[in-house]
């Protein structure tokens, strides 16, 4: 009933401070969506600062996945410059609980 999607969100330039402000809301948003969230973490620049997010989520279809990501505070609060949502499957080293 659900499929996995890889999500690549890239931040607007020089938005690290804004990302830090929004981060608690982003974490709270996904914290309660335990079925949807598979894994997530930031892309880093050469200084180790986050400049985007990579996530893998579960959703019924591409529209549902896009809607889930569209309501992420990083999207609604102006952190992401672009978001790409692509159907994805975990094959190698897939944990037993996934």
């Amino acid at each position: 009933m659900t499929k996995m999607f890889a999500v690549i969100g890239l931040d607007k330039p020089d938005h690290f401070a804004r990302r830090q402000e929004v981060r608690p809301a982003h974490l709270a948003y996904w914290e309660e969506k335990t079925d949807a969230m598979v894994l997530a973490g930031p892309f880093l620049d050469e200084n180790g600062n986050a400049v985007g997010s990579m996530m893998v989520i579960r959703a019924a279809d591409h529209d549902a996945a896009t809607a889930l990501v569209g309501a992420d505070p990083y999207a609604t609060e102006g952190v992401f410059a672009s978001v790409e949502v692509k159907p994805w499957n975990w094959v190698i080293k897939r944990p037993e609980h996934i």
Binding site: M1, T2, E32, K33, D35, A59, A60, A64
Partner: protein, 138 residues
């Protein structure tokens, strides 16, 4: 016939997705032994509440078990099995978790005492009470 409750995040797999499917769909992704064992105990024709978790926290519809437990196609791990369910009818009035918790006749319901379990048994009496609260045919 036995009765059950299936929890789902509405934005991930909501009642509208189940209805739009228009055919039996596997209740996949369950990776909890208690929930899996409940699905193994299901018989074709059993009914279940479709419960929206996260913010909404309400029973919103009734599904029927269309096919008994089989391997979950989303994993190669043979331990994980699931049933197929199909939408039967929506609740005329969604019944919220708060309403269920406030009803002393439902104090033993698994949803009240172990709300994290994603697939739960429901007694015949609980089934009738919750359907009545939702103004919906049992």
């Amino acid at each position: 016939m036995a009765y059950w409750l299936f929890k789902s995040e509405p934005e991930t797999w909501g009642w509208h997705h189940q209805v739009a499917k228009g055919a039996p769909e596997q209740w996949d992704g369950v990776r909890n032994y208690a929930a899996r064992n409940n699905m193994r105990a299901m018989k074709k024709g059993d009914l279940g509440f479709f419960y929206h978790s996260v913010k909404e926290k309400a029973v919103v519809g009734i599904v029927r078990v269309a096919n008994e437990a089989h391997p979950d196609s989303t994993t190669d791990d043979p331990r994980w099995e699931c049933v197929d369910v199909e939408a039967v009818r929506p609740f005329k009035r969604p019944v919220t978790l708060d309403e269920i918790k406030a009803n002393p006749d439902l104090e033993n319901m698994v949803l009240v005492n172990n709300s994290r379990l994603s697939v739960q048994p429901v007694t015949e009496e609980e089934w009738a009470i919750v359907c009545r609260m939702g103004e919906t045919e049992p």
